[in-house]
Point group: C2
Chain length 467, copies 2
């Protein structure tokens, strides 16, 4: 039952566009580069928000909300910062029917305004650590927009923290990067990652170091899933975020920032999707199981309702589709939407006390007893979750090639990732890669852990084309 | 233990400002009229969002997200609509480093862009009803800003639905207004409301009717807590939201819209707050119980930790304050923040197997056995919730005066609400009220239910000064 999608092998970007449209994930907004996130796409984002928010709060961070509009003068405080953003800014020049004395920038990030308030709220060492997180929309003008991946407005969370010591800042940042972000990516999105540090030229402007988690999409390109920045004392100095230590001295704070955005929805699509459409891992799925009656007779519908009840009692996010259209049409629709498990309920099966379970990821069908189906479905969802991670990890490992030089890396990057000693790259090597639209995605230790510095001996560079 | 707040009786607006600052709810943002919602204020908003979102989803509405920027031309489609907003607009004229060919408006509401997409998504009667909700920030330029109550940017939800028949639209709108909004206001915020319809001049521009829920603040002024609009076919006609009926004819949809915003946080503060600070009803409280050790010794702290565990097992949102500052200072801080129940744990009490419970609403102290304290606290929170609603309802009823004419209404509105037959008001009466900064808050039936039309016989007008 093939969906009317362009096959991935034929034209991957077109396939992506088709999936986003046909799975009713998003539409282009009326203003250039903006997007309308449709209910199904938004429900997936809400699942992501819920899983991330819970993990972020568990680290001790608190949510807050800072204004959308930032006076233009704020962005010139930290010159290096502005340099990075200015072509991306949307500027409000009129408000209340008049031209404004000072233009307002629509936040591209809240870094500056949060810095300002941190400086105000932090007085003493007792106010530290201060750990803030914000869920909000931000705007960065985008000339080549692409739904979820690059849009002029996107939704994200941005965390900003201030600490008394560099050690505390780095420990916390690692907690965010590993226990919040990577745990979420691997265990909810079933997306294996390469963890590492950005090379100096790929680093966030103003950061001492940027940690990243790079995912491999099905076309072999990299997607930077999240980033976490070690800002050292740079920002704190620019915004005068200082505290009085126990012995009364005035000290400069150590700050961090970290973010994840609706880009993750694009990452989810391209990590698991196939020629039939989206494939959503169970833990990320707003609907984990769809129950479809093969025929609209009363006994079948009653059995479906009972099943739905039982699934929900087991904590499964299930829904019944007794909607319009043929059985075949409904099956295709849910396949395109990537619902992990479909239960088909027909009168003949019912007579034998069974129903048919169909896995979205493998297409495998099996007859199962109605008895205890809730628990069986719940178990099967966990199996699917694990299998998706396994399959994605195998794909990634197979498409990651160890090479011994820049030219080999460029070649390998045409279909996947290349890995080579960072010492073999250097500035010139990075120039050469960039000229071929290939970049250093991250620097990692041979055991896959995150280095303490880009200057560590023996680091490997993961190199790829990227989104 | 009086907090350092201006007493309500001395200067209510000043009291409000003091509470917002001292309870660490919000700060003024750097750009005029914007606000920074601090973690404690935001946590209260998150409780509101969670309670409202659950109720909204239960009606069958789905969340979606529409763009922040709306082309200026969209707002001229429905002339009456623009008339209502244009002095309130923030306009983006520059993006990507260039002047834009068409300026973009920062959404004051998403009515127009959602209308556009509804027209696209709705083809057949099978696509109806279409029920969308959005949680987002919106901007309406504010010349006299006041934190939470009137800010240039605020957070809200806006619901927009399209229906095949007027009957279905009105039934759904009533479900939203009563089962979502009023249930939330009364049962979560413990805020009694007057339900009714807006008078023609107070109605949302373009609506056939606007339903409101009006709360009485402690200074006797009204706050419009939420509004729900019956848009008839006006919007659908302007945006060509049509569908093909079962017999193949093209029909115009019937639409509704409804919203609730961060203004509710201001309403919460002014409904229950007192001279000691905020008073948060338990169901709206991010922290329902704070456990405070009277002394920092190990046995006391261990007992506190055990209590905290037990409270959480009972589903109580509890926290332990073993923080800095004296016991008295901590008590005052939590009083200002309005945490409904405080548990004080001291060594002498512990020896007797008891702890002290202190209600924020009444100040009442009682010794309770540690045995089964989780369940006892949970029960007491429900009692507090009910008592707060009871007290607010009594205050409101006592401050609502039945009058027989406009002059009497103006007089009564100096300290509360006036109620009089709508037939005694008329256009001239409304002019006279408005001249004295008094307005018709809603038209209601004598039994308190919402009329079907402002032309119904025997309606009463609720008249007050308002925020």
């Amino acid at each position: 039952m093939a969906a009317a999608l362009t096959p991935q092998g034929e034209d991957f970007p077109r396939w992506y566009q088709d999936v986003v449209a046909k799975a009713e994930m998003a539409d282009n907004g009326p203003a250039r580069g903006t997007m309308v996130i449709r209910p199904y796409g938004y429900a997936i984002w809400e699942r992501m928000v819920s899983e991330l928010d819970e993990r972020i709060k568990a680290t001790g961070a608190e949510n807050a909300y800072f204004p959308l509009f930032i006076p233009l003068s704020y962005l010139s405080r930290e010159a290096e910062h502005v340099e990075g953003f200015s072509p991306e800014l949307a500027v409000v020049t009129h408000g209340g029917g008049e031209e404004l004395a000072e233009p307002l920038v629509v936040r591209p990030t809240s870094e500056t305004v949060i810095g300002e308030f941190m400086a105000k709220w932090i007085q003493s060492h007792r106010d530290l650590p201060l750990r803030l997180n914000q869920w909000a929309n931000v705007v960065r003008w985008e000339m080549r927009p692409r739904l979820f991946l690059r849009s002029s407005e996107f939704l994200w969370q941005e965390g900003h923290t201030a600490h008394a010591t560099r050690e505390d800042a780095l420990n916390y940042l690692m907690t965010i990067h590993l226990n919040v972000y990577n745990d979420f990516l691997v265990n909810v999105l079933a997306a294996p990652t390469y963890l590492g540090m950005k090379s100096p030229r790929e680093r966030f402007a103003g950061a001492l170091n940027t940690y990243t988690a790079e995912g491999m999409m099905k076309d072999g390109k990299a997607l930077q899933m999240v980033t976490s920045h070690d800002l050292g004392q740079n920002f704190a100095r620019a915004f005068e975020i200082t505290y009085q230590s126990e012995d009364g001295a005035s000290e400069v704070c150590h700050t961090t920032s970290w973010g994840a955005s609706t880009r993750l929805v694009g990452g989810l699509i391209m990590t698991h999707g196939d020629d039939e459409g989206l494939v959503v891992p169970p833990r990320a799925a707003p609907t984990q199981v769809v129950v479809i009656p093969v025929r609209d007779d009363d006994a079948v519908l009653a059995a479906c309702e009972r099943l739905l009840e039982e699934l929900r009692r087991e904590g499964v996010r299930a829904r019944l589709d007794r909607g319009r259209g043929s059985f075949g049409r409904r099956v295709t629709d849910w396949e395109i939407k990537g619902v992990p498990l479909r239960i088909e309920v027909g009168p003949r099966d019912l007579a034998e006390g069974v129903v048919t379970l169909v896995r979205r990821d493998t297409g495998e069908k099996s007859a199962r007893s109605i008895q205890g189906l809730g628990a069986a479905a719940s178990d099967l969802l966990e199996v699917i979750q694990g299998d998706l991670l396994g399959a994605a990890t195998r794909r990634r490992d197979e498409a990651t090639i160890d090479v011994t030089g820049i030219e080999g890396a460029i070649e390998a990057a045409q279909g996947g990732f290349a890995r080579l000693p960072w010492s073999l790259v250097g500035e010139d090597g990075e120039d050469r890669l960039n000229a071929e639209a290939v970049s250093v995605r991250c620097l990692t230790r041979p055991d896959g852990s995150i280095p303490e510095s880009v200057h560590e001996e023996g680091l490997l560079a993961i190199v790829a084309r990227s989104y």
